[in-house]
C-alpha cells in the first residue's frame, strides 16, 4: 500500500498535469508547483474522496489569514500528508 504522500503526489500529478518526478515532499503546492486555489479545489476533492475525509480548507485559510499558521504547515506536501494522516486517524478514533 502506497504512503499518504505517494497518493497525494499522484493526485497532484494527475489533477494538475505536473510530472510526478518534479513533485517532492518538500514542495510547496502554491509557491513551488504553481497550483492556484481553483486547481487546489480539484485536489481537495480527490483527497477527500480518496481518504474519506474533508480537508478543512476554510479553517486553514482563516488560520493563515489571521497569522495563526503558515501556508507551509498545510501546503508543503509532506506536511499536507501529515495533516491528512491526522484527519484519517481522528475519523477512525
Amino acid at each position: 500500500m502506497s504512503s499518504t504522500y505517494d497518493q497525494v503526489a499522484k493526485i497532484i500529478a494527475e489533477t494538475c498535469d505536473i510530472p510526478l518526478d518534479s513533485i517532492k515532499p518538500e514542495s510547496h503546492a502554491i509557491d513551488d508547483l504553481g497550483i492556484d486555489s481553483l486547481d487546489f479545489l480539484d485536489i481537495a476533492f480527490a483527497i477527500d474522496k480518496t481518504f474519506g475525509i474533508k480537508l478543512p480548507l476554510e479553517k486553514w485559510t482563516q488560520e493563515v489569514n489571521e497569522g495563526k499558521a503558515t501556508t507551509d504547515q498545510y501546503f508543503v506536501l509532506g506536511n499536507l500528508s501529515a495533516r491528512i494522516d491526522e484527519l484519517v486517524a481522528a475519523k477512525q478514533a
Binding site: L38, L41, D42, F45, D48, L57
Partner: protein, 157 residues
C-alpha cells in the same frame, strides 16, 4: 425564465437533502432580447445559458444542503455536452446531484432533459462562501420563495 435577468429556474419540483438531489423546471420564453442575437432568424437557447441553468439548480441544492448559510458561486465546468438544439417555448427538466461537499466547495453532476430526451450535462464545481452582503441574501430569499424553496431566517446564535 427571464434570460436577461439570469432567472433560469421557474420551480423546484423536488428536493431531497438525504439523496443530495434536486429537480427543477423552467420554460424557455418565446421572446427574449437574447434571441435577437442568438441567432437572428434562428432563435436558439445559448448553450452557456443551459449550463447556467444547471449551475443554478446545483447551486440551490448546495445552498439548501448548507442550511442557507452560504452562497454558491460557479467555479469550474467540466465534461459539458450539449446534445441537441433547444428552441424558445420548450420546457427544461433540470436535475443535479451533489457528488461531494467539501470545505468551501461542492462538486455536482447536472443534466437537462427536454421532452424526456437528454439534452445537456456537465460536472460543476461551486465555491461556497458566506453571503457577502445582506442584499444578496435577501435577493436569494425572494428568489427561493418565487421558485418554491423554503429559505429560513438567518441564525443569530
Amino acid at each position: 425564465m427571464k434570460l436577461e435577468y439570469f432567472q433560469m429556474i421557474d420551480r423546484i419540483a423536488a428536493l431531497d437533502l438525504d439523496a443530495r438531489t434536486i429537480a427543477a423546471e423552467a420554460r424557455i420564453p418565446e421572446q427574449s432580447p437574447v434571441f435577437e442575437g442568438h441567432f437572428p432568424g434562428y432563435p436558439l437557447m445559448p448553450g452557456v445559458l443551459l449550463v447556467e441553468a444547471m449551475a443554478q439548480a446545483a447551486g440551490w441544492l448546495t445552498v439548501a444542503l448548507l442550511r442557507f448559510e452560504a452562497m454558491a458561486f460557479l467555479a469550474a465546468i467540466k465534461a459539458v455536452k450539449l446534445r441537441q438544439f433547444v428552441t424558445p417555448g420548450h420546457d427544461l427538466a433540470i436535475t443535479a446531484r451533489i457528488e461531494h461537499v467539501g470545505s468551501g466547495f461542492a462538486v455536482a453532476d447536472a443534466a437537462i432533459a427536454v421532452g424526456g430526451q437528454p439534452t445537456c450535462e456537465a460536472t460543476l464545481t461551486l465555491r461556497t462562501l458566506p453571503f457577502p452582503t445582506p442584499a444578496l441574501r435577501e435577493h436569494m430569499a425572494a428568489a427561493a420563495a418565487r421558485i418554491g424553496l423554503a429559505f429560513p431566517e438567518p441564525r443569530h446564535d
